[in-house]
Structures are given as structure tokens and as C-alpha cells.
């Protein structure tokens, strides 16, 4: 393959034989028609019955495919990929109290997990302490409750924070939770320059999809840029944003929409960093991404391959990045929660395996494989072990890690990769036209595109055009699993008491001074002198709770509610 690899005569023969095959195919269908009226991906992208070298005839191997670790990185971000080091096996975990979650962390590490990933409960995600009236009934249900730096200490007790990298799924309050992480790590004797990990910190996709809403878009971007700037200067091993398509997809988007909106969010963060006065090559290398791996196997692989090429090209051409590291689309992947079924939950193991395999063939840097019971609740120990073992079996037994980007050169995969890039580029053009992502969000553009896609998919399911085993084909009744995790409702009171006691014993003067300084910086124009991070680290050390810092944010920056249009 390569530009004009096929000679004129070969092309001619290709066309002739293709036509012969097509005639034969059509004739055969006379006797036995196609099983489906239309073959399409889970995103409803139409798929042809057969792909041939003609579908990729226009391709230039060197420009578009190339070699792993080399521009445009279609085949992978490292030259060695999984032959040197496997992806990080990073299971999203958080339940009940900080002690419960710490115990789960140790359990996972003891069973071979290689990185940590923290799930917070809804009050923490939304910037409320457990004692807030808005937090009633939520404590520890969907993750761990973190109100104070003491909770953070309990969460990471007996874990070497310079050895293990930690991902924290937190968005509007990301700066505060990161400050708690840094303060705790330093209290434990680690150096901030050696800390490695990721805060999700992707406020834009919250407006678009996940709706963990707190501040309006502009101040949200300012806080994100503060963390990017602080990370660049002080915590160089930290990924300060995990630009996330996952939630966009879970909200019902197509694969192309996930790709396009997420990459455009990335464009927006880069622009903000540049506006702050940072050089693109100083911070772009610390931006990381997060994809969903849905059930449509080839579509996902194509999406991931296209994402690398698209990002590399954008960074090079649009932002004039020089350092190849700025062009690397490094990403975490989670298998699709929305593909799991409550009916016949053991089937979810098979779904997750398929999706995990797609992520590996797509070249992911880290992976969370869903547990079979994650459709109901945060996973039980039994289920999470199966999910972790799924990754380990894929890594060590199947042989798919022996070779880099094994699907490259497949007529279908390359054509689908091109299609993904092409359609995403069209969305990017449209978003440019709308005046950028913030403006588009204000007009509800991405939200509406996703809601339309979600409704369309649901209608296809109801019409039987998209099949889900156990749901609309071989439909079965739901049965409870024997191991469903229960979060005790009484931990709420315990956590409330703990936080209240913590607040009582803090030094009032030091706390006041720290909060005044934080306010001063928030009210000032965005700059390194007004960067919130140093003030936050002091504030949480001085005993500020997560909500107290968020309340200050809300006071200074205003509150954003979802426009909720249809």
C-alpha cells in the first residue's frame, strides 16, 4: 500500500473483479436476502459488505499511517507500545468512607492493578460536604466522600504516592481536591515534583454531557487554566486535564460526536493556556484524553486510531507545536457503562472483554474494565476481580499484545479510520463557525446533537433495528446477583460528625487568612500571581473543607444551571 501502489492495470483488474464479485453477491441475495435491512455501527454509521484496496487507494502511507511513536502517531504514541510496557491497569474505585476505599485500593493493588483511580460520591463531585442538606442520602453511594484533607490522608494511607500514579475523577472542584492531594502527599513526606497522576478537570464536557455543574463556562476555564499553569511549573509529572469523551458517549452521542466534541474541548484548553501566556510546548504534553470503548468493535478501534492522527495534526498545524510530545494523544479508556444490561448480568463480562480488546487494539495507555455489576452499583470485590482479570487475560494470554497496531493496513479499518477523522473534522469546522465551544454550549449545540443521537438510538432499539441480547432479543427478566454491594446509610452520620469535629479543631485565624487570600486571588484577573493553587493548598492545610472552597467559588464566580433545552 502507499500512494499509487496499485498500478493502472492492477486498478483496472481490481475494478473488474470487484464488479464480478458484486454481481455474484447480489445474485446470491436473491436466494437468501441480507439478514438486516441496513448494516450500521452502534452509532448508525452505514457499513458496506466488503472493503478492498480501492477504499484506501488515495492513502499516503507515510503521511497518514506511518510508524508507532512517529508523527502522525496513527499507530501508537510510543515506538515500543505493549512490547515494552503494558497499559496501566487502572480500575475506577470509590465506595463508602475513605477507609473503605483505601481498603479497595489495596485489594486491587494486591491483585495486580498498576495504577489507582478514584471515584468520588456525588456531593464531593458537586462541591458539597456530607453535612450539606443537598447531600442527604448520597454519602458514599457512588464513590467516596471527601470533605477534608484528613479524608484524603485516610484514602491514600500506606500507598507510596511517588511510586503509584493516581487518577481522580473530579471536575468543578478539581483544583480543590488536587490541592488536598498535594497537601496530603507533602504531609506524608513526598515531593510534589515527583507526584504522578491525573485530575479529570474537564469542565467543558460537564456542560455538554455529564452535568456536574457548578460555575459558568468562563470562570470554569480560568480555574482549569490555573491548574494547567501550576502543574507546568510545580507538578511536572501530573496530567492536569483528562479531556473526556467517555461521558459524552454515555450521554448517548455517536462515536464521531465523542471524537469531535472531545477534541474540540482539547482545542479550547490549549487556546486558554496560550492566552494565559504559556508556550504550547510547555504544557500540551501534559494534556491527556479519555475515551469510551463501546460495543461496536471496529468503530472503536478506528475512532482511537483517528483520534491520534487528528490531534497530532491539529497540534502541529493549528497550534504550531514543535515538540512531538505536544502532539501525542495519550489516553485512558473505559469500557462502555451504557452497553451493560441489568438483565442477565453475567453477559456483561463478554461485553467488557470485547470492549477491552478494542481499547487494546486501539492503543490505549490505561484501561478500566467495567465490572459485571456496575450496571447496578459500584462494584463488589468479586465482580471487580473478574473485571481486572479480564484485562490481565487479554494482556498475558491472548497474544494480542505481541505486535503493535495489528489492524493497520486492513482495508476496512483504514477506511473507517479515515471516515472518523473526516466526519469529526466536519464537526470541528462547524464548531469554529459557531465561535468556539463555549459559544456552542451556550447555544446548546453539542447538547442537542447528543440528545438527538440518544433518542434516535433508543428508537432503533425499540424498533428492533439495534439488538441488545437479554433486552430486546432473547429478552429475560432481571434477577439479582448474589453479590451486590450495599452502602450502609449510617456512614452518612459518621462522616458528618467527623467533618464537624475537624472544623472545630482548626486554627480559626490561619483558616480565615487562607480563605481571604483565596478570595483575593479569585477576584483578581487571571495570572500566575492570582493562581488559586498555592492559596488552595494553604487553605486545605488550614482546615478548609471542600464545600467551603466551592462556596467561595460560587460566591465569586456565580452558579451555572443547565439550560435544559430540547
Amino acid at each position: 500500500m502507499g500512494k499509487k501502489v496499485l498500478s493502472e492495470s492492477a486498478l483496472e483488474r481490481m475494478q473488474t473483479e470487484y464488479n464480478e464479485w458484486l454481481a455474484e453477491y447480489k445474485q446470491a441475495l436473491q436466494k437468501m436476502p441480507e439478514r438486516l435491512g441496513r448494516f450500521s455501527t452502534v452509532s448508525d454509521l452505514e457499513i458496506k459488505p466488503l472493503y478492498t484496496p480501492q477504499d484506501i487507494e488515495h492513502k499516503d502511507f507515510f503521511e497518514e499511517i506511518g510508524f508507532p511513536g512517529f508523527y502522525p502517531f496513527t499507530r501508537g504514541v510510543q515506538s515500543t507500545m505493549y512490547r515494552a510496557r503494558l497499559w496501566t491497569m487502572r480500575m475506577f474505585a470509590g465506595l463508602g468512607t475513605s477507609e473503605d476505599t483505601n481498603q479497595r485500593f489495596h485489594y486491587l493493588i494486591n491483585h495486580g492493578e498498576t495504577g489507582l483511580s478514584t471515584a468520588f460520591d456525588f456531593p464531593t463531585l458537586m462541591g458539597y460536604d456530607t453535612n450539606s442538606p443537598l447531600a442527604r442520602g448520597e454519602c458514599g453511594k457512588c464513590g467516596v466522600a471527601i470533605d477534608t484533607v484528613e479524608d484524603m490522608q485516610r484514602l491514600f494511607a500506606n500507598i507510596n504516592l511517588e511510586k503509584v500514579t493516581t487518577s481522580m475523577t473530579i471536575n468543578p472542584p478539581a483544583s480543590i481536591v488536587w490541592a488536598m492531594y498535594i497537601a496530603n502527599a507533602e504531609n506524608e513526606g513526598y515531593s510534589r515534583s515527583k507526584l504522578g497522576g491525573t485530575i479529570q478537570n474537564d469542565c467543558l464536557k460537564e456542560f455538554i454531557a455529564q452535568k456536574t455543574l457548578m460555575l459558568p463556562p468562563e470562570p470554569s476555564l480560568r480555574l482549569v487554566t490555573d491548574t494547567v499553569e501550576f502543574g507546568t511549573r510545580e507538578v511536572p509529572r501530573w496530567n492536569t486535564i483528562s479531556i473526556s469523551g467517555y461521558h459524552i458517549r454515555e450521554a448517548g452521542s455517536t462515536a464521531v460526536q465523542e471524537l469531535a466534541f472531545t477534541i474540540y474541548d482539547g482545542i479550547t484548553y490549549v487556546e486558554e493556556g496560550i492566552k494565559r501566556g504559556l508556550a504550547v510546548d510547555d504544557f500540551a504534553g501534559r494534556l491527556s484524553f479519555f475515551w469510551n470503548s463501546h460495543i461496536d468493535f471496529f468503530e472503536e478501534i478506528a475512532k482511537m486510531r483517528a483520534s491520534r492522527r487528528l490531534w497530532a495534526r491539529l497540534m502541529k498545524e493549528r497550534f504550531k507545536a514543535k515538540d512531538p510530545r505536544s502532539m501525542l494523544m495519550r489516553f485512558h479508556t473505559q469500557t462502555a457503562g451504557c452497553s451493560l444490561t441489568a438483565q442477565e448480568p453475567y453477559n456483561n463480562i463478554i461485553r467488557t472483554t470485547t470492549e477491552g480488546l478494542a481499547a487494546i487494539l486501539g492503543g490505549t495507555q490505561s484501561l478500566h474494565t467495567n465490572s459485571l455489576d456496575e450496571v447496578y452499583m459500584i462494584p463488589s470485590e468479586e465482580a471487580v476481580l473478574i473485571a481486572l482479570r479480564t484485562q490481565q487475560i487479554l494482556a498475558d494470554e491472548t497474544g494480542v499484545t505481541n505486535v503493535i497496531d495489528p489492524l493497520a493496513g486492513s482495508y476496512f479499518i483504514e477506511a473507517l479510520t479515515d471516515k472518523m477523522e473526516e466526519e469529526a473534522t466536519e464537526y470541528i469546522r462547524k464548531l469554529d463557525e459557531l465561535g468556539g465551544m463555549v459559544r456552542a454550549i451556550e447555544r446548546d449545540y453539542p447538547q442537542m446533537e447528543i440528545a438527538d443521537a440518544a433518542y434516535h438510538f433508543q428508537q432503533q432499539v425499540e424498533a428492533g433495528e439495534k439488538l441488545i441480547i437479554g433486552v430486546n432479543k432473547y429478552a429475560s427478566e432481571r434477577r439479582e446477583l448474589e453479590f451486590v454491594l450495599k452502602i450502609d446509610d449510617t456512614i452518612e452520620k459518621m462522616q458528618v460528625d467527623r467533618t464537624n469535629q475537624f472544623k472545630e479543631k482548626r486554627n480559626k485565624d490561619r483558616y480565615r487568612r487562607a480563605m481571604d487570600e483565596l478570595r483575593r486571588r479569585c477576584e483578581g484577573p487571571p495570572s500566575w500571581e492570582n493562581n488559586v493553587m498555592p492559596a488552595l493548598i494553604e487553605a486545605v492545610r488550614a482546615g478548609a473543607t471542600e464545600q467551603e472552597c466551592c462556596d467561595l467559588y460560587r460566591e465569586v464566580f456565580g452558579v451555572y444551571t443547565d439550560p435544559g433545552t430540547f
Binding site: P216, E442, R443, D444, G558, Y560, T561, D562, P563, G564, T565, F566
Partner: protein, 318 residues
């Protein structure tokens, strides 16, 4: 207590239920409206109109905050479009007014157009009367915001606020014709955006032309720049509304009387049209004439609309 007493004493449940009956055109609701009418005339009615996405709901939310700070009670009617395909509707304006959900001094009701054109619903004026009788000091009506023919609000409200955003040039062109008739106050929301100067300049030109033509009646509509999401310009907008109100009230009896007469006249005409049509329809139905048959006659060229209507009128009313 009967329903009238309940509503006058401010009962939320009773009020909410009557509003529904009015909207659904349940005949008994007219009887209740009759009894409530003597208790109306105290509220000040403010209209907000403008295209979708200009931030009407957020402005309404912000105005409600300011009126609540003054100790005034607020009623809000927010209109969204009905789907022409199913007759259903999704009503989401109140999402942007959440802070008032637990405030007993604020009553919010979402309405669907149900095929009515002009920016409001057929029931809006009656509903304003109910909220007035209920004792709300300020009643804010937010129009549907789908077209530029939303002139009804100007006849329903005492003060009408016309909202636009920078870069909506077509909007201004479209409102040009009736600009002085609709808006007493103009708002350029999202004024931090590019093009805001230009939009303000265009508006100012149009207002000046309108004033010169004598459409102003002594009131020169102000242009207020706002950023509703950041609460910027809200005091100014509130001030402008209050200024318009005192203009109406203080420029002798005339202006106020004029506005009141205009509102009553419109409502009278609308009610008359509505009732006359309904009465005619009922009588025709009683006779066994169906609208469908008449339509068929015209389609088959057996008759024409003019002759048919004449026949009906002279038969039923003549």
C-alpha cells in the same frame, strides 16, 4: 372556603388548578374568572420577548430576585412551543428559575402555545388576571420566542422588554417595523460579546427614527446592556422598568388610562371573538353541521368560503 376565596387568599394549589382549567378551556373556569375579576387591577405586568436563546428566562429570574428584595411577590408565566406533530410540549423555562422554587412569594407556571400564534397562549391574559387576583404584585410574562410576530405581549403587559443579543442583525431588521409598538425597554443581553457596540448603535438609530415619527408618545425607550448570567446590568434594567412604570403613572391620568383601556379593549375583543366562534361552532354542531363537511364543499368547488360563512352567520345570528 370556595375556590374564589382560596385564590384571593393566595392558595397555591387552588390557583394552579384554576390555571389548568383555563388553559384546558373548561367551561366552569369562566364562572370563576367572573368572580375573580373585581379583585384584579392591582398587579403590574411586565412582558419579556425576544428570539430563542437570548436569555429571557435568565433575565426573568434575575428580575424576580430584585422584586423579591423589595418585598414584592412575583408571578411568572413562561411560554414554550407545542410540538405541531404530537400536540405535546416540553416546558423547560423554569429550569433557569430554580432559586425561586421554595420561595412562597414566587409562583411560576409553564405554558404551551397549543397552536396559538403571537407569542403567548390563548389563556395568558386570563391567567394574568388570576395571578393578579391571587395578590401577586408583579407578574412577568415570558413569550415563547419563536418568531418575530410576537406583538401580543405589548397588549398584555404594562411594560414590555424586548431582548436581543449582539450579532442578531436579522432580528433587528425584523423588529424594525413595529419596534416602537412592542418594546418600551430594549435589552442587549450577553453584552460582553463581539458586535455589541454595533447592535446598540443599530437599535439607537431605530429608536430615534421611531421617536421622530412620533411613535414614542413622550417615552424614549432606553437600551440596557446586560450579562444576565453574571447579574450584570440587572439594577439598570429594573430601574428602567420602574422608570417606565412611573412615566405611565405620573404623566397625568392619561397614559395609565390609555394603557389600561388598550389592555381591556384587546381582552374584550379576544374574548368576544373566542366566545362568538365557540357559540357558532356549538350551534352548528347541534344542528349536525360539521366543519369537515364544509371544508369538503369548498375543496370540491361546490361552494366558496365567503358564501358559506355568510350563510352560517345569517342562519345562526341573523
Amino acid at each position: 372556603m370556595d375556590i374564589v376565596e382560596q385564590i384571593i387568599s393566595g392558595d397555591v394549589r387552588a390557583t394552579a388548578r384554576l390555571l389548568r382549567d383555563i388553559d384546558d378551556e373548561i367551561p366552569t373556569s369562566k364562572e370563576i374568572l367572573k368572580e375573580l375579576y373585581p379583585h384584579t387591577g392591582k398587579a403590574y405586568v411586565i412582558g419579556f420577548t425576544g428570539s430563542p436563546g437570548v436569555g429571557k428566562s435568565t433575565l426573568v429570574d434575575q428580575m424576580a430576585i430584585l422584586y423579591r428584595k423589595e418585598g414584592k411577590t412575583v408571578g411568572i408565566l413562561a411560554v414554550d412551543p407545542t410540538s405541531p406533530f404530537s400536540g405535546g410540549a416540553i416546558l423547560g423555562d423554569r429550569i433557569r428559575m430554580q432559586r425561586h422554587f421554595l420561595d412562597a412569594g414566587v409562583f411560576i407556571r409553564s405554558l404551551a402555545t397549543r397552536g396559538h400564534f403571537g407569542g403567548l397562549t390563548r389563556s395568558t391574559n386570563d391567567m394574568v388576571n388570576v395571578l393578579d387576583a391571587m395578590g401577586k404584585d408583579i407578574i412577568i410574562v415570558e413569550t415563547v420566542g419563536v418568531g418575530q410576530d410576537e406583538v401580543e405581549i405589548a397588549n398584555s403587559a404594562h411594560s414590555t422588554v424586548l431582548v436581543t443579543v449582539p450579532g442578531m442583525g436579522d432580528d433587528i431588521q425584523a423588529i424594525k417595523a413595529g419596534i416602537m409598538e412592542i418594546g418600551n425597554i430594549f435589552v442587549v443581553n450577553k453584552a460582553d460579546r463581539e458586535g455589541s457596540r454595533k447592535t446598540i448603535r443599530e437599535l439607537r438609530n431605530m429608536i430615534e427614527i421611531g421617536c421622530r415619527r412620533g411613535g414614542s408618545n413622550g417615552w424614549e425607550p432606553p437600551i440596557i446592556e446586560t450579562e444576565a448570567l453574571k447579574s450584570r446590568g440587572m439594577e439598570e434594567l429594573h430601574g428602567a422598568i420602574e422608570k417606565h412604570r412611573s412615566y405611565l403613572l405620573s404623566s397625568g391620568e392619561d397614559k395609565w388610562k390609555e394603557v389600561i383601556e388598550k389592555r381591556v379593549r384587546i381582552q374584550l375583543i379576544e374574548t368576544l371573538k373566542d366566545q362568538a366562534f365557540r357559540t357558532l361552532l356549538d350551534r352548528m354542531e347541534a344542528r349536525g353541521d360539521s366543519l369537515d363537511e364544509l371544508v369538503e364543499k369548498v375543496v370540491d368547488k361546490k361552494s366558496d368560503p365567503y358564501t358559506l360563512v355568510q350563510e352560517i352567520i345569517s342562519r345562526e345570528l341573523g
